[in-house]
Subunit: 376 residues, 2 copies
């Protein structure tokens, strides 16, 4: 049967795709579960017990729509960030908010600046609104603010993406560099500053809220999916100048957040002690993953996130083979998509039981990969 | 501070708005809670206890992203509907799915046919993508398939909205009429058939799945927000020809569903006994609301939904005054937005305790409204 003929030309030109193939999809296709879930940078350390209790208590109330204005969550976030509630817009994960911001700026042919190998879901949304990519290279495994700035000026792009700390490499810039990059952009260019991994970064990585809140062309995004252990509840938030944040009300799905997500997020913010515990666990896990890598002759990259990019020491084909062999051994991991980043695999911080599976399977995976992918 | 200057012309032209003001927003502004929550057609009869238990059990797993492909839910829905999983697309409520379907078809200036006073969130999405409205009148408090068909042919619109049963009037058409309307549309026009209230309608209201599943230009939408009592979990689904359904994968937020929502929906489908109980409660509540209306000299309209539209017997100003007086007495209700539908207020089915509050407050609300809004 042919596709409906009156979808827009843009939609008809798009592939039916998914930015990431989920572990459940892979398990379904493989016919068996993974033994270690280390690919999606989830937090297997889990949400706060107080969050679980709050969700449990709220479950019988799931018949009520959530508050369309997210008043309690925005108030709690405002207190947490030291800003005003009208500078904050929660949404269905950073992914959902990315899509909305892209929609507000990108039309067919609009140039958009990002880095080669940066977050695929951003690219998915840009493609979905017909944007034209202007891509710059990573430099020393970091996004390159100078090159991004130059590309913005040369292309006149109204939108540039920058992730700090970075996914998929785990690298980061100091707050001063990020602030200077942001403030140095033309007023006509929106900076989408993705700080999904911000809570795990060393002090001095995130610009203070007040450093950029006066810029109508800066939107920062954070999430409860990573350090707060609530990926499955889809809660992200954008913050920035209130006039810019108000624009989300023009296009968002106002009743899109689940009531349980709103409750979970408010409760998660209250339990900063749990967050601190998890941050300690993540640090321990990063060291453990790095040790495993080194024991196998590989090079772990420094990380300001809840994952470690491991340089497998050869090319992308080899790293892809290593990844394939790990997956075949029931270890779910992912890796960057483009050279030279794709010499690495990316392993999420997780409790010891899962890292032990990774440790046990990595040597055989490396041997098998070496057998199928010999160096030139 | 000025708005960011490079939002698209379309976005700059849109108001920052919300299709519905939520009860929490009103409570926040009033400074006190409602005593009866009868305005959003939620199901205060609640979700199945088995659903609550499943969500409770799953809460500690909320750190995992949900399955991007919704495999379990689609498989369960396919079994429930007697169709194939690839003809079904779950999403973040019907509201979210409406937005995606509109996005796939509507560009600035695209004509879109709908009824005056039909679902405001559909209109919100059409406006959000720059569509041009072609509106037809309700006829005898029902959507008018003949007039909609004619408007489609005259405007060449690629999209028409039809709700069965209807919100806000509670009216409905038989399956044969709906099927004939759908099959009679031009191939170049997509029918968005909103069946959010379908479970509550009399037998013979919903066309059988197979009656329309072969039409690439028909997408039907249903929800877990109404009869299943899960409005707060944001779970809707679209179903139709698989080529059409596949197109959602081009534009949707693949990881947008919460894991708990996926689990809740699968469990809700299993407990059809709970659904039957709720349907009985809804019928009892409809009769009760109708009796209260008649006791006060008002005329309840027949309803195939979980609400009753009550004709207040005069014009929109009077009905708006009645609504205002009910809200002032802590009874949350809503009403249609345009004449002649706006001679009615709309009251949701709910447990007796809340309906008793409505019964107690309605006489005073009517007296007060009569005092401020005298007939000509």
């Amino acid at each position: 049967m042919p596709e409906f003929a009156r979808f827009t030309d843009l939609v008809r030109s798009l592939p039916a795709t998914v930015p990431f193939v989920g572990p459940e999809t892979q398990e379904h296709e493989r016919g068996r579960p993974f033994r270690a879930r280390l690919g999606a940078n989830e937090s297997a350390f889990g949400p706060s017990p107080a969050v679980v209790e709050a969700m449990t208590n709220a479950a019988p109330e799931a018949w009520k729509y959530g508050d369309a204005r997210n008043i309690e969550l925005r108030t709690a976030l405002a207190r947490h960030l030291g800003t005003e509630a009208d500078t904050i817009m929660p949404g269905e994960g950073v992914d959902g908010l990315l899509g909305l911001l892209v929609r507000m700026i990108v039309e067919p042919g609009t140039p958009v600046v990002t880095s080669k190998g940066a977050y695929p879901t951003f690219d998915y949304h840009v493609a979905g609104f017909g944007g034209r990519f202007v891509r710059v290279d990573y430099r020393d495994d970091r996004e390159d603010p100078e090159a991004l700035s130059r590309a913005v000026r040369e292309s006149g792009a109204p939108l540039v993406y920058f992730s700090n700390p970075d996914n998929p490499m785990g690298s980061w810039w100091d707050a001063e560099t990020v602030t200077a990059f942001a403030r140095g952009l033309p007023d006509m260019t929106m900076l989408l500053l993705d700080e999904a991994y911000g809570e795990m970064a060393p002090p001095g990585t995130l610009p203070p809220v007040e450093a950029l809140i006066d810029r109508p062309n800066v939107v920062r995004m954070r999430t409860f999916s990573k350090a707060y252990g609530l990926a499955g509840m889809r809660i992200g938030y954008a913050f920035g100048a209130k006039e810019t944040i108000a624009a989300f009300d023009k296009v968002r799905n106002h009743f899109g957040m689940t009531k349980l997500s709103q409750i979970a997020a408010v409760e998660a913010l209250k339990d900063q002690a749990h967050l601190d515990t998890v941050l300690g666990e993540i640090e321990t896990a990063r060291r453990r993953i790095s040790d495993i890598a080194r024991q196998n002759g590989l090079t772990p990259l420094p990380s300001a996130t809840n994952f470690v990019a491991i340089d497998c020491g050869r090319d992308g084909d080899y790293a892809r083979a290593v990844l394939g062999e790990l997956v075949a051994r029931d270890v779910f991991v992912r890796m960057p998509s483009v050279a030279p980043l794709d010499r690495c695999i990316r392993v999420s911080a997780a409790p010891e039981a899962e890292l032990a599976v990774f440790e046990a399977e990595l040597p055989a995976a490396l041997s098998a990969a070496a057998a199928v992918s010999r160096p030139a």
